[in-house]
């Protein structure tokens, strides 16, 4: 039974080599040398022809058993080695995950347009539409139709930018021109009331201009948001409720507001709205000038004279309007110390928000 002995020896040798294989590559080498075309076990199988016929059954079974056994051993060993190798690769591939990632940074939105958008969204949520107008406007829309008296100081060359009128007309105002850089987006409400019929619920954000020297608290150009509501049965209580809602949305639910009677030519009654100081909570501190309040916006019920300019019947409709300066609110919300920073385009400033 020399052959069976040989098979036995082969078995021991092969299983030992499988066990000894250091890696999947070495194991594959073993497999080729044993089971490959020129493998030792393959050779045994080929040698079956020389085995005596009466022994063939037994030897054949032994060889086949051995092959199954080898294949099983190979599989077990392969899995173990592969697992070990994966383990080794994973541990060798460990990263310092604190190294910075790689992506082009997403750009930032300017504070003013971000805040404008936020405010517009608040009002869109309660049914307002956005309207816009031109930045160069006639004195009629910027002042007259908003009930500003002809001699009002705000119309003067000191306060308002006038533009050379190329139409050939020379308007009476200041002897030169009645074309201005709009000082308020309120003119949009006049256009809207001329063009649409109530109900009107609009918001008009936009750039406005006033002749102020640029300093930490003034800019000759800034952003205003004007709101206008004209509908049946609008009350002063509606004005209060609307603006209180807006304030809670923008400044937070813990802030309170108050209304102080004021004067504007295009609203009657008029008021200014203050929001409680976010720093001292209303007790009074340096940032609110010890009053506990910060002035946020001007508002009021639309003056009947304004309806007169646009042909809306004040006996049938009533409404309110409000106007707020976005830069001012930005300063209050984000503690920007100098308004001029908003126009410099300093990347270090812009990337903060």
């Amino acid at each position: 039974m020399a052959l069976l002995d040989t098979i036995g020896e082969e078995r021991a040798a092969v299983l030992a080599r499988i066990e000894a294989a250091a890696g999947t590559a070495a194991l594959e080498q073993v497999r080729v040398e044993v089971l490959g075309k020129k493998g030792s076990l393959t050779a045994l199988l080929r040698g079956m022809g020389q085995v005596a016929p009466e022994q063939r059954g037994e030897v054949g079974r032994a060889v086949n058993r051995l092959r199954d056994e080898v294949e099983a051993a190979l599989a077990v060993r392969r899995e173990a080695l592969a697992a070990a190798e994966l383990e080794a690769r994973i541990s060798s591939e460990a990263l310092d995950i604190t190294l910075p990632g790689r992506a082009r940074p997403v750009g930032t939105q300017h504070l003013i347009s971000r805040l404008t958008e936020e405010i517009v969204e608040v009002f869109r949520g309660i049914g307002y539409q956005v309207a816009s107008g031109t930045e160069v406007e006639t004195g009629y829309y910027n002042f007259t139709a908003l009930n500003t008296p002809p001699d009002h100081p705000s119309r003067g060359l000191q306060d308002t930018f006038y533009v050379r009128d190329r139409s050939g007309e020379r308007a009476a105002i200041d002897g030169e021109s009645d074309v201005v850089l709009r000082t308020q987006t309120s003119g949009v409400q006049v256009h809207v009331m001329e063009e649409r019929t109530p109900p009107i619920y609009i918001l008009a954000p936009g750039r406005v201009y006033r002749r102020d020297v640029a300093d930490p608290t003034h800019l000759p150009q800034f952003t205003q948001i004007e709101g206008l509501v004209v509908d049946r049965g609008i009350t002063f209580g509606d004005l209060k409720g609307t603006l209180e809602y807006f304030c809670r949305q923008v400044f937070g639910p813990e802030r309170t507001v108050r209304f102080r009677p004021h004067f504007f030519p295009f609203t009657e009654p008029s008021a200014e709205m203050d929001v409680s100081c976010g720093i001292c909570g209303g007790a009074g501190c340096r940032s609110c000038g010890n009053t506990g309040w910060l002035e946020i916006l001007g508002c009021g019920m639309v003056d009947p004279n304004v309806y007169g300019f646009v042909g809306i019947d004040p006996q049938e409709y009533s409404g309110f309007a409000f106007g707020l300066g976005v830069e001012r609110i930005a300063c209050l919300k984000y503690n920007v110390p100098d308004l001029r920073m908003l126009l410099e385009g300093d990347m270090r400033f812009l990337r903060q928000f």
């Binding site: 750009g107 930032t108 307002y128 000759p220 509501v229 509606d238 009657e268 009533s318």
Partner: protein, 854 residues
């Protein structure tokens, strides 16, 4: 408007503390801008009584005193005990009451009182002179107080120095609040308490009739509704009594002399500006009368005002003229003299007269009250607010008087104020008040009767306000509630209301609503939201697309900024954009400065300034965009055309070089990539780039400039900014920039891309490298490939551009493309694809002169 609380309290009862009071003023429409508390500087200085006075043992000029300061100094048993103070003054005796600065007090000059030893004797405080308290120049000795002064009370309280001056912002619609009387009335209305003028002025001795001394003519009643003149003779000019000086100073003026102080005092008290002329300086007519004429100034007329400045006048300015000087006269309303009516006609023809005052603004130097003045002509008039306002602004001359006239002065109170002022002048300066008044008042104003619909008011504000409250508030504000018959019909009541003459702002029913609302309390109105039905927060297509722009640019790493909408001809010239005839700059008539004298026609200059700003601060990587308006004027058009533009600049690299991320300098294609992102996000299918030559885009570097189009629609430009332009803006090149027309972008945008079926069958990719002349654009080659490849050519990607003079020859470049072939309905065979590919190669070669590389 400065309001002394001490003064106010003599007129009306303020029923709460200062903080509560100022809040109430705020909430009823009189904004408090600040409160200045005076007298607090003298804290720790009290009334003391000198008990003993003995020579200092070691110094001839010093006294050792013991001073009773009441409970401010307590002995060991807790009982008050006198303090020992060493003192150098000589003017006092034991028993005198003097101001004592206790240890710890700070004097107005800032020095602090400490316990000290003076030549070996302990001193615990300081007896003070008037000067040491900042109360005057007298430092000859201690300030000896009245024997009745209560020991121990603060000196500020004893001397009445404690006051709070409230600075009020008076809105332009409230002329009546420009006086103490107006504020007292307002306080009375707010708290429903009575008020009065407070101080009584004794009646004056009456002399000769004033008509014998003065006559008055008003040329134009539009400029002056009423003019009254009184004369006070034999006054003695001198300092004002302390109470008068104190009040005038508290109101914000200087104390000048008794006569001028009275004019200011009555103005602050009653809101009526007054002017005192020295009657002796005015020319007299044959009957010995002065003649006051109110008329328009002559153009070019010169006049020296009280402040010593010579002013050049024009016709819009109203003058007070000495009608007798240099032959005078005036037409129009006229009174005074014997037989007023007759005199008017007689004075008709006339010369100019000599100007003695600018109506409503300031008096003249020549007729000013001086130390030698004996007879006073007192003017109390109602000048037009519009003329006064324009005059002030034109001459840049603002006075307390002009501030009041600008808002409007009540014609009805003109004479009352004058009478009170005249009597007060006699009280403080002596003399005799001439009998009567010369009063020219052509047309007294009568306020219109208004109707107040109670129900409508309640509906309008959204609160039920009781009729009694409405009537009470309006009455306290000075309105006459003509009759209250209807007050019983509740909500249906219509109240007839006659506003007072001092409230010219109350001309309509709505004005009364505001009055009632503000006094009743805005805080009492419940907050509600409008219940309107036709309310939709709709967004237009354009508004929705608009939002895509910023979102895409930010996703492409750009940061939004904002720059000035102003430009200057110099900046425009530096950029050298060739604008057309109808694209002129909008010029400002009154710019802030030369650098902001026109409106911008491009956002680029502003962005370049920001690049320079960053670079000069060591920030090299700049990625900015702005969406904003540009302006174009053209002859014959009143309003310019405005266009919304979207512009961007890129400089430096996307980021500082990182450990795994080298900093690649930004160039043309980085800008182009951003624009391509935009085109994609807006679904602009036919976006294309065409080279721009130097003459079309002189602000861009030639060869790196492109026009951006959607089909034939121009969208804008893209390129690297010309180094010359960069230099003009002190910017370090290269800077990539683009500027696109927002309206054109949005108009070219498609609503949505249609769905395309995902490929079911695999693609076969083959490469194609061609060598072409430098001037053959990639786009041309690409077009040739696409047209030859037809429907089966699914994708073409340019993956390499390569130049090598040695291997390719001069002026040649190699372009390598990867072509993916795919059929929608089957798997293509290699033979099929190769055949097609060969066809593509052939077509490209013939169309572009390309040589195919192996």
């Amino acid at each position: 408007m400065r309001v002394s609380l001490k003064w106010l309290k003599t007129m009306v009862d303020v029923p709460c503390d200062l903080r509560e009071f100022t809040q109430k003023l705020d909430l009823t429409g009189t904004a408090v801008e600040g409160v200045e508390v005076t007298g607090t500087a003298l804290e720790g200085i009290v009334v003391g009584q000198v008990l003993t006075r003995e020579r200092h043992p070691d110094a001839d000029r010093l006294w050792v005193t013991t001073v009773d300061v009441g409970a401010h100094n307590l002995g060991e048993g807790g009982a008050p005990e006198p303090v020992q103070i060493v003192c150098g003054a000589q003017n006092f005796e034991a028993g005198d009451k003097v101001p004592v600065a206790l240890v710890g007090a700070t004097l107005p000059d800032g020095s602090r009182i400490k316990k000290a030893k003076m030549r070996g004797v302990e001193s615990r405080g300081m007896n003070c002179s008037a000067r040491e308290l900042g109360l005057g120049e007298d430092h000859a000795g201690l300030l000896i107080l009245h024997p009745s002064a209560p020991v121990g009370i603060p000196i500020a309280e004893h001397l009445g120095l404690s006051d709070a001056v409230i600075d009020l912002e008076i809105t332009p619609n409230r002329p009546d609040c420009m006086s103490m009387l107006g504020i007292a009335r307002e306080v009375g209305a707010i708290y429903a308490v009575p008020w009065s003028l407070g101080r009584e002025v004794p009646a004056a001795l009456v002399g000769e009739p004033v008509e014998e001394l003065v006559r008055v003519s008003i040329d134009d009643a539009q400029r002056c509704a009423r003019y009254t003149a009184r004369v006070i003779r034999g006054v003695k000019i001198g300092p004002s009594p302390q109470w008068l000086a104190e009040r005038v100073i508290a109101a914000g003026a200087r104390s000048i002399n008794n006569i001028v102080d009275v004019t200011n005092y009555i103005m602050f008290e009653m809101g009526q500006p007054l002017h005192a002329f020295d009657l002796a300086t005015l020319a007299k007519d044959g009957e010995g009368r002065a003649h006051i004429v109110v008329r328009a100034a002559k153009p070019g007329e010169r006049f020296t005002t009280l402040d010593g400045v010579e002013r050049v006048l024009d016709e819009d300015i109203t003058c007070i003229v000495d009608g007798n000087a240099a032959g005078a006269g005036a037409a129009g309303a006229d009174a005074g003299g014997a037989g007023a009516a007759g005199a008017a006609g007689a004075a008709g023809a006339a010369g100019a007269g000599a100007t003695i005052g600018l109506a409503g603004v300031m008096g003249g130097l020549a007729s000013e009250v001086t130390e030698d003045t004996v007879d006073i002509l007192l003017e109390s008039a109602t000048f037009s607010s519009a003329h006064t306002s324009r005059t002030s602004r034109k001459l840049k001359l603002f006075s307390e008087a002009s501030a009041r006239y600008e808002r409007g002065v009540d014609g009805a109170s003109c004479d009352t104020a004058s009478a009170r002022a005249a009597a007060l002048m006699v009280e403080v300066a002596g003399g005799v008040l001439c009998e009567g008044v010369v009063d020219v008042w052509p047309a007294p104003a009568v306020p219109e009767l208004l109707s107040f619909r109670v129900g409508r008011f309640c509906d309008f504000i959204g609160a039920e306000v009781p009729i009694a409250d409405i009537v009470g508030i309006l009455t306290r504000l000075g309105c006459r509630m003509a009759c209250h018959d209807q007050a019983d019909s509740g909500r249906d009541s219509v109240l007839p209301v006659q506003p007072p003459t001092f409230r010219p702002d109350l001309t309509r029913e709505i004005d009364l609503y505001e009055e009632v609302l503000r006094v009743w309390g805005m805080e009492r109105v419940a907050s509600t939201l409008p219940g309107g039905r036709g309310r939709i927060g709709e967004q237009t297509t354009e508004q929705r697309r608009q939002a895509t722009l910023g979102r895409t640019l930010r996703a492409s790493s750009l940061n939004e900024t904002m720059t000035y909408a102003f430009s200057s001809p110099a900046a425009d010239a530096a950029v050298a954009m060739p604008f057309e005839e109808h694209q002129q700059a909008v010029e400002l008539i009154n710019p802030m400065n030369g650098e902001q004298s026109v409106m911008r026609r491009s956002i680029l200059p502003g962005l370049l300034r920001s690049v320079a700003y960053n670079q000069s601060r060591g920030v090299a990587n700049v990625h900015l965009y702005e969406q904003g308006t540009v302006f174009f004027a053209s002859e014959g058009r009143k309003l310019p055309r405005e266009r919304q533009m979207l512009a961007a600049v890129l400089a430096g690299a996307w980021a500082e070089g990182g450990w795994n991320n080298p900093a690649e300098p930004l160039g043309f294609f980085d800008g182009k990539g951003v624009v391509e992102n935009l085109l994609r996000e807006l679904n602009i299918a036919k976006g294309q780039f065409k080279a721009l030559d130097a003459s079309a885009a002189p602000w861009l570097q030639p060869g790196r400039a492109a026009q951006v189009l959607a089909g034939s629609q121009q969208l804008g430009w893209l390129g690297e900014v010309h180094p010359r332009v960069c230099a003009a803006f002190e910017v370090q090149p290269p800077v990539v920039a683009f500027e696109l027309d927002v309206k054109a972008l949005l108009a070219s945008a498609a609503q949505a891309r249609p769905y395309r079926e995902l490929p079911q069958f695999p693609a076969l990719s083959l490469d194609l490298a061609v060598v072409v002349d430098e001037d053959v654009s990639a786009q041309r080659v690409l077009q040739a490939i696409r047209s030859a490849g037809g429907a089966l050519l699914d994708e073409v990607r340019l993956f390499d551009v390569y130049r090598d003079e040695g291997r390719l020859g001069a002026g040649k470049k190699s372009l390598a493309f990867s072509l993916a072939y795919r059929a929608p309905d089957r798997t293509l065979t290699l033979e099929e694809v190769e055949k097609l590919h060969q066809k593509v190669i052939g077509k490209v070669a013939s169309a572009t002169g390309a040589e195919v590389r192996a």
